[in-house]
Symmetry: C2
Subunit: 691 residues, 2 copies
């Protein structure tokens, strides 16, 4: 998204030096590389982007949105089936309100005045007013952008929740202890708390550091009654670490009910892992799309929203806290446990998600020199944060590394143990934001690359997230140009997700449909699947008859540019970080982290030049490594200490400000790279035309 | 007050085993010693107790309360002078509502319905309805008890604020530091907090323990703006001790503005000392009557109120917090400083005041075996407590020792250093509750004595607090029975305060007006000043003509019993604690703490047998030692550590449950004691009749 910000008119980046500098560079690059305009004219149709599912649809005018959604296979929750009587299909129109009919009687009934003025409508009631639509239709920004609330979406999205769990020694911060406390007497009138502590010390002399023990203040108020309700038989919960504290006291023996929850707060998705802290087992995993998407699909638009709206930070903060509470409650329902028996939560997320979660203003992350408010880890009471776990519970937030390399990257480092590797290792975490880590036992350098969310299907005409009906793998017969593909859940295709897009680009290269510079091969311009539309060219991936849509699934020249830029961002970012390492410069091993990294074809990712040319058996897909980092820190206190040590070791490189960035990026726009010598194993490129 | 609970019908002690056991004992004692009934019949007058000033007045019927107050010299704040137009003279009628006129038109105008149903009236509007008053009038409880809110009372009450300040080495928990923080750059994009901490370490390597440093979470949210508002020049405030924390960051250099406040929360009075933590100097002292008196004048009635009212604890807690905030604001006005530049508050108070201040339920202190919720010291954020100081400020609450020996006693121990004395020392803190400490370098034993508030003038017909017009010292010519006296502020007398009462008893003994058993000397029953009223006898202390009242100031047989019981409680309590010390049994030195202890005539206190017979030059009046303890702990962190060590050393004796209590108490009811050998220096007693 960063990379195509030059096309969006919505977000005001005026004070955003970082973005400005990238924009200047990209304008320059596009002048060199881009041969087509990304403007399209489609007088009969209009374009709607649906968020947070990143689904673009092109539709004939004069249909209600509800009909449209149903037709294209996005199921939403309504009771009345689109009659306007249930009021359930509330959607937020973010772009294009001016082209819509005025709110109907049914909407005036079901929506408040504030709702309507904020852009909320009922999907079944809104229609496009043809007269108002301008003749020239822009693709980006689209005329319409519509946000669908989480609860409206019936479809399950594929959110990567699993990560590679190394064998973690169980040493959680939370410890429970069952006690029969001595009752007070006139001979021994010891105060309640002191009797409790004395009983702990009697049971286990080394259990706690009495001298520095804190007591949760709200708990203290309830202790007298809990003690007597439980006939002086109670289960205590202690936090250890640098923050020894008695955080809970429950009547009876509840030591088996000892849970923690690890959260990975992504820009687009949030995952929560409910773990039993007595045995380290994961009892339930729940996830949802990050509802902050309603405020902007990437971190920069969210920072801008916060800057432009007095209560913006508060709004975004409540939104994410509510989402986490929804996940907590889902997990507790699944595992049949009480939220108050979750005593600790660990949190990873990129720096902006980290700041918004904590209610810290991310403003200065968004402008040069891009500094966060805080780097170090934080421990905050759940009641202060507003998380619905035990009221005395601890929220441990992993440290961030820099403005655009957050606690999620620290999670990847912790769970991958990259800092212990002998060989120089590249780890890339591919999500809505892309982070690069290069390191081994001697070095640890990180950087952020403005890869954008093209690889997640955003801003690609028929791109979509990994949901049912998405093409997730694909082959092209180089002789017949016949295309075979698979879709998620074997549904009729409705779009292409990230792994499908990588396959598509790689196969189009192998079949010489596109050249190394990303242009359609002029020699093949007369083939059936290549269609010229005004000034753009499109390649038909799936014909209308095979889809759930009543049109072809295509990839346009503009789409290819988006993917080129994304892959170039990773490769050039890696090159620039490597330049910082003065001694050794060869990547020997690659870790692919994140949802996307997990599902792609490693060989094709290498083939398009997204990652360096090393043997595929040295490329490891490590899953949601950021989330694993949060889980590991939940399970083992020593790893939190390790994050502190890692902070001292890790270096951060501001990639986009390096003088060689423009050249590196431009060279990496080629497939696999302008310099073929960097990819010696890819012999097929000898036959693929450069331009 | 505890001791005359057998006369009060109001408080329901049914579940209060402690009080019950004392009551049984006192009923037994009164059967032995009391020869008169404390019932009086005064058909023409009614009795009103005014709280919190403990002023009893006996008035003719059919006067408005406002007239009555003015007449007896209690000035209250009104604008209209009693016409009923300003609505300022709001008072709370606690007892006797049923004997009053119904609310007038003026009251219905100025008071809310809730006010009226809670018993609030306008002093200028209420009159007694003669028809409703029963013929037999009880003295205790009086027909009327009226609470005067703090703001209504114009008169300055004498609240002891000064204590003996030993030379305290300045080592406060709060430290401020002025810093010019390095600005961030693209080359060095260090997060805000880390730049601050790095600058501290650069300035003074040993200033803080970075590894364990906490950051006030609300402060963290404001740091980015404060840093930039102050052009990266800021003053930081750190808390040290076991709770290293950055609690404040202010733009510019404000290191000279570094304040703390020490509070002594008494049952009846609250004092706050504002201290500059850079130089240890007291900048302002403010005090007020504890507004909790509206809910009951002693700790037991307040516990009962909390037990009987669902929101009782919350109400009493807010009341004391509001009072402390009033004192903070008074002090800040006087010293011309900002409340946000007070970074720490230290608190002492008896166990019940301690619990209510913290919002902890004191219920179990009030019933056998009388255990508090917590003994140890507490550190709580000011924002959690609700104190209007720096939002990140620390509230340090000194530890309590036992149910009836609170943090105030710990304050006395800390400020008097009794635990360092070579000679066995008795310290008594005389307030609404009485505490006894006996100790030296080898022993430290404490106990609480149910001394009641008679010594503060409560429940004595013409007793009053030390306010202007109170007789504070007195002599009787043994030959002529002429009485000479002094009053506070040299006003015409309106009552007798504690020090005056002690003098009066001692002088009545010396003049043989009363006997060693506390009865009026039958041989003098025909003297002019002795008046028989129904079944009671009174001694006229000041004749009507000399007073501001239109009646005599007297002391009744019942009043003498109250004072006898109070002094006996101290002496017998001390004897019982001494019995616990198996080796050494002779008090060599006495510390008199508390308001009362400071103003009394030491020789007369000894003469009536309240304290043991030792040389007066070994009796020291140490002032508000509890308050000094709070100040000392504010000024020096090591003393907080010392309170922890003292907790391990100090023993607590439950005086009233000891089997010898009844005998010791009965013997100590005599002046100076049943056993004259205990007071060998008081030769005058050879001539004073025993009965």
């Amino acid at each position: 998204m960063l990379l195509n910000s030059n096309y969006t008119g919505k977000v005001n980046y005026t004070n955003n030096y970082y973005i400005k500098s990238i924009r200047t560079k990209l304008n320059f690059l596009s002048a060199i590389l881009f041969t087509e305009l990304i403007m399209e004219k489609q007088e009969k149709d209009i374009i709607i982007d649906f968020e947070p599912i990143s689904r673009r649809i092109i539709i004939p005018k004069n249909k209600s949105f509800h009909e449209i959604l149903t037709k294209v296979g996005i199921k939403i929750r309504t009771l009345c089936g689109g009659l306007g009587t249930c009021g359930k299909c509330k959607v937020l129109v973010q772009e294009g309100r001016e082209f819509l009919n005025t709110p109907t009687k049914s909407e005036l009934e079901h929506l408040s005045g504030a709702d309507i003025s904020n852009g909320w409508r009922l999907a079944c009631q809104i229609k496009v007013n043809n007269e108002l639509i301008p003749k020239i239709v822009k693709v980006d920004p689209p005329q319409f952008r519509v946000f669908l609330p989480e609860e409206l979406i019936l479809e399950d999205f594929k959110i990567l929740t699993s990560g590679e769990q190394k064998d973690i020694h169980l040493k959680p911060a939370v410890r429970k202890l069952y006690l029969e406390v001595k009752k007070p007497s006139l001979e021994n009138p010891v105060p309640d708390l002191e009797r409790i502590i004395n009983s702990v010390t009697l049971k286990d002399k080394n259990f706690l550091n009495d001298e520095n023990l804190n007591i949760d203040f709200k708990l203290l108020k309830n202790i007298p009654d809990i003690l007597r309700d439980g006939d002086h038989k109670v289960s205590l919960t202690f936090l250890n670490g640098n923050y020894d504290e008695l955080i809970s006291c429950e009547p009876g023996n509840t030591v088996n009910e000892n849970y923690g929850i690890a959260f990975d707060i992504g820009t687009t998705t949030i995952v929560g892992y409910l773990i039993n802290l007595n045995n380290g087992k994961t009892y339930s995993v729940s996830s949802m799309l990050n509802p902050q998407t309603a405020y902007g699909e990437d971190v920069i638009t969210r920072i801008t929203y916060i800057k432009d709206n007095e209560n913006g930070l508060k709004e975004l903060n409540s939104t994410v806290i509510n989402a986490l509470n929804t996940i907590i409650s889902k997990n507790c329902d699944k595992a049949n446990i009480k939220p108050t028996q979750i005593y600790e939560a660990t949190i990873v997320g990129n720096s902006v998600m980290h700041h918004i979660f904590l209610g810290l203003n991310p403003n200065y992350i968004g402008q040069s020199p891009y500094v966060p408010v805080i780097q170090r880890e934080l421990n905050v009471k759940s009641s202060i944060i507003g998380l619905n776990i035990s009221p005395g519970g601890n929220v441990h937030v992993l440290p961030v590394i820099a403005g655009f390399v957050g606690a999620d990257t620290m999670g990847v480092i912790i769970s991958s143990s990259i800092e212990k590797e002998k060989e120089l290792t590249l780890a890339i975490d591919i999500g809505t934001n892309g982070e690069i880590i290069i390191g081994n036992k001697d070095y640890l350098i990180t950087g952020s690359c403005a890869a954008g969310s093209a690889l997640e299907g955003a801003h690609i005409k028929d791109g979509m997230r990994a949901a049912s009906g998405a093409i997730d793998s694909l082959r092209i017969d180089p002789d017949t140009f016949e295309i075979s593909y698979t879709t998620i859940k074997n549904k009729k295709p409705i779009g292409i997700c990230g792994s499908g897009l990588i396959d598509l680009i790689a196969e189009m290269l192998r079949a010489k449909i596109i050249t190394r510079s990303g242009n359609f091969n002029k020699n093949l311009h007369d083939m059936e699947r290549i269609v010229k539309k005004d000034k753009s060219t499109e390649f038909i991936v799936v014909k209308k008859e095979e889809t759930s849509l009543n049109r072809d699934i295509i990839i346009s020249q503009g789409d290819i540019r988006q993917l080129q830029m994304a892959k170039a961002a990773f490769y050039s970012g890696m090159k620039i970080i490597l330049n910082e390492l003065k001694i050794e410069k060869t990547i020997k091993q690659i870790f692919l982290a994140g949802a996307f990294g997990n599902y792609i074809d490693k060989d094709n990712a290498k083939f398009i030049g997204m990652i360096p040319d090393i043997s595929s058996d040295k490329i490891f897909q490590i899953g949601n490594a950021a989330g694993s980092g949060a889980q590991n820190c939940l399970l083992n206190l020593d790893l939190r200490k390790k994050t502190r040590e890692l902070l001292k070791k890790v270096k951060y490189v501001e990639i986009a400000t390096k003088k060689e960035f423009q050249r590196e990026f431009a060279e990496a726009m080629y497939f696999p790279h302008m310099n073929l010598e960097l990819f010696p194993s890819l012999k097929e490129y000898e036959n693929i035309p450069k331009r």
